[in-house]
Symmetry: C2
Subunit: 164 residues, 2 copies
DNA sequence: CTTCGATCGTCCGTGTCCGAACGATAGCGG
DNA sequence: CCGCTATCGTTCGGACACGGACGATCGAAG
């Protein structure tokens, strides 16, 4: 939803299709801008930081979570990263093939699989994360310094509001 | 990034990996919560509104954009929806197969393809969009009424900040 | 010790999602 | 009117992304 039409134009167009219904355009604007922003920021970070290292977004998230919490169980990686176990399984196979992470069955509970970074993986993250954080700085530069905390809090509220 | 660790725990863990570097944790929190919120909201809307009608997120966005602006060129649909022309091409084929949209070559410029809704597609959207907007209301209910405008504006700023 | 329900990670099928390459078309300069 | 260059939508290959089904494993109840 990152088009060229203004909000007012969109409202007028929608209104003409559903003239008889009362709609919440403010809610529509918040949700629509949420996805527009998430898409734009993700594309920016992928282009500027991830693509030069031949990493996808999801692969980077997996590396990041593992880097911070290793050794970590796969279910926790999926939970922290916000995607399904099925998705993680494929990404882990890719990263394992590139020699960035290792899988290892837990001795205590042989249903679990522990994920770790290889030395190469750690070296990559030590170089990559500062670059990533630099670009995060660029992204939030448009929000006044004093409002960043409340912005993060409002976004957190959105997540909590829709949790089942 | 929707895990169980607190922000403070994460900061401490990251700091211990990069003790020698100055990082912007506030920027990190904003970006991370942005994706957490976008994912959570999308999942919520998919579950509550889209799945009962057997529609994916992207398919709904395509239908919505087309519904508002038809007839519309495919490049504009992709631009408004925030995905690539390649992605759109596949989704359009699916929607065409289900009899919800039509493709038509432009007479003026035969490189262009115009997209329209079928009567069935229009009927579906007329029923679906009010349901969607109802859930958008639920999502933003956690943000105080007076702050929704500025929240939408802040998100819009994020998109603009990373536009090349 | 044995059954049984719960939970783990993986696999499968289907549907996005993108960059790159492609053929078709348009509009320009000569 | 004829190449050149730009732009269009599609296709292709590879990597996500998810729900559901699966075998392996655990813990508890009997």
């Amino acid at each position: 939803m990152a088009g060229q039409h203004t909000l007012a134009e969109t409202e007028r167009a929608v209104q003409s299709r559903l003239a008889d219904l009362t709609l919440d355009f403010e809610a529509m604007a918040v949700v629509s801008n949420l996805f527009r922003a998430a898409n734009a920021v993700r594309n920016h970070l992928e282009r500027t930081v991830l693509q030069p290292h031949d990493l996808t977004w999801t692969a980077f998230v997996v590396l990041w979570v593992t880097w911070i919490w290793e050794p970590i169980e796969t279910r926790q990686v999926a939970e922290e990263g916000g995607f399904s176990k099925a998705t993680l399984s494929g990404v882990l196979t890719t990263l394992e093939g590139r020699g960035l992470v290792t899988r290892e069955r837990s001795k205590q509970d042989r249903r679990l699989v522990l994920v770790r970074l290889t030395p190469n993986g750690r070296r990559l993250m030590k170089k990559l994360f500062p670059e990533f954080n630099d670009q995060e700085r660029v992204v939030v530069a448009s929000i006044p310094r004093g409002e960043r905390g409340s912005a993060a809090q409002a976004l957190r509220q959105l997540s909590i509001a829709v949790q089942t």
